[in-house]
Symmetry: C2
Subunit: 314 residues, 2 copies
């Protein structure tokens, strides 16, 4: 795993699905896969930005939009066969982090035809689950299910071939959702694709602890929390994707907050029916200023209209 370069998640500008590369060096030069040999480009503690499917793992299964991907390790360099158990460490652990952080991974396939081969960029995939299995070799392998992210732009050539843009009116004809340096864009995906800059910052600040109940959903190295926008993103709310507008919550309190079951006063007091068992105040880190205007927006549009409607929680 590279330790020097910051990971770049999401689409590389100018590289659309279908883009072809003559060899691994070209792929590396374009910034699509910044490893010249390894199949996984990941950084410790940050997740995996890219994988290359080269047909080297006997337990991989490629169904196109769905890929069952075998983790790294335990393979003989000579025969390509699995000769030892795989461990959930290193790059494999970073693939798990993509699941818990909702990070997309770039997928490139090695294509072999007519005696020669090249590489074709397939687009962005989500890693949706992982599990252990016994591979064909009898050794333990770690498996990952990848699913292609649906709302990706068609290439320009494909659009031309189709002749009419209107044809795609019902598809999400939108530039790629931005990650990292790219600006955040609206998406039709709910609770899955997230801006990584702000949401990772708030989760890091609270070490994945819920600001309401203090729970830290714990896998030792890959904890899970959700970033909740106070003034919602998207039309018509258009809340900004800034640290001042985001909370670190467990999934349960995220659901309750978004549904307006509780609100937050400007001074952090938690407003809600006794049945919810809320603590008196929101936990707020010294470095985290939550703008009162966003809290007021949430109270006005999400919480207050619902006040008193919650019957019970436990």
């Amino acid at each position: 795993m590279s330790k020097s370069q910051p990971p770049v998640f999401g689409a590389i500008p100018g590289i659309s699905p279908g883009h072809e590369f003559a060899n691994r060096l070209e792929l590396w030069g374009a910034g699509v896969h910044r490893q010249t040999q390894a199949g996984i480009s990941a950084r410790q503690g940050a997740g995996a930005e890219s994988i290359v499917l080269s047909g080297g793992y006997e337990d991989d299964a490629d169904y196109g939009d769905v890929i069952l991907y075998t983790g790294r390790g335990g393979r003989s360099a000579e025969t390509g066969q699995q000769v030892a158990d795989q461990e959930l460490t290193g790059a494999n652990r970073e693939l798990v982090r993509n699941i818990t952080e909702g990070l997309p991974v770039r997928v490139t396939r090695k294509v072999t035809a007519g005696g020669s081969s090249f590489y074709r960029y397939a687009g962005l995939y989500r890693i949706v689950s992982h599990w252990a299995a016994t591979g064909k070799s009898g050794h333990r392998i770690w498996c990952f299910r990848l699913e292609r992210i649906a709302d990706q732009p068609l290439t320009e050539e494909m659009a031309r071939a189709a002749g009419q843009r209107e044809l795609f009116g019902q598809l999400a004809w939108e530039p790629e959702v931005g990650y990292g340096a790219a600006p955040r864009r609206e998406t039709t995906t709910l609770r899955i694709v997230r801006d990584t800059t702000v949401t990772r910052a708030v989760k890091k600040l609270y070490d994945y602890r819920c600001q309401v109940c203090g729970v830290r959903l714990g896998m030792a190295e890959t904890p899970y929390a959700e970033a909740a926008h106070v003034q919602a993103l998207g039309a018509p709310h258009h809340g900004p994707d800034l640290l001042e507008n985001v909370l670190c919550l467990c999934p349960n309190h995220h659901v309750l907050f978004d549904m307006g079951a509780f609100g937050i006063a400007d001074d952090g007091l938690l407003l809600g029916p006794p049945a919810l068992g809320l603590p008196e105040k929101l936990s707020v880190h010294g470095k985290h200023r939550i703008a009162p205007a966003f809290l007021a927006y949430h109270r006005q549009h999400f919480y207050e209209p619902n006040a008193g409607r919650v019957e019970e929680s436990r």
Copy 2:
């Protein structure tokens, strides 16, 4: 709201997006929208199966893939203007249920051109959020954000126009995800699209209480819980979508279960590190038989390989 007919969620066989209907009666006859006048076809306690956008509400905003939809009520029959506050009751409450239950809604638009009008089926949308706002009239309105479900089939005509099916290779060229009577199908959507028959059954059986911690995430009339498959759905697990393979969990315990942070013994004992604060046993309803084979599958592939990896939870 209709009280006699069971709701039918999802696509109507034979009716693809783009299908046109001369009038409301035809729309009714096809089973797309089973109300001849009302804009929302819903059943009390079951959710909304269909809406018709007829341009009657001054606060609606139609962006195509995203629709900001105004709830029902408070409108003058003569002028179409908002003359009173809207309440979060009746059909409006059922639209909220679509959010908490993940139910899709059929959307049909009234199209007016050249002095005449007709209706065009737009496809399935998710209702992703609701909030209160002050409408143009100064009265309180209830608003809903609808987002088009991306993975829907193109119509046959659109495919022919495009000339080559391969063009769509990167899109999810799949029959519609089944709801209700239709068989369940694999989907690329994570934690959003659910089979309603089995998942609603398990949530109803437990009255939306988590089988691990007992929490009931409570909105008074629209509680929220998640159905968790024990042996995962989809390749390569191919767990069945049966009540014997599903649990009613809160989002927090759903995440932990899917990530393998805890497992369940055949007798219901909860297996996991003390830091998770798990109770001794899973709560199991007298009418709910969870098949041991599925629990064993989860332990073998998801839990046991991870055992001991959880550091802390609270």
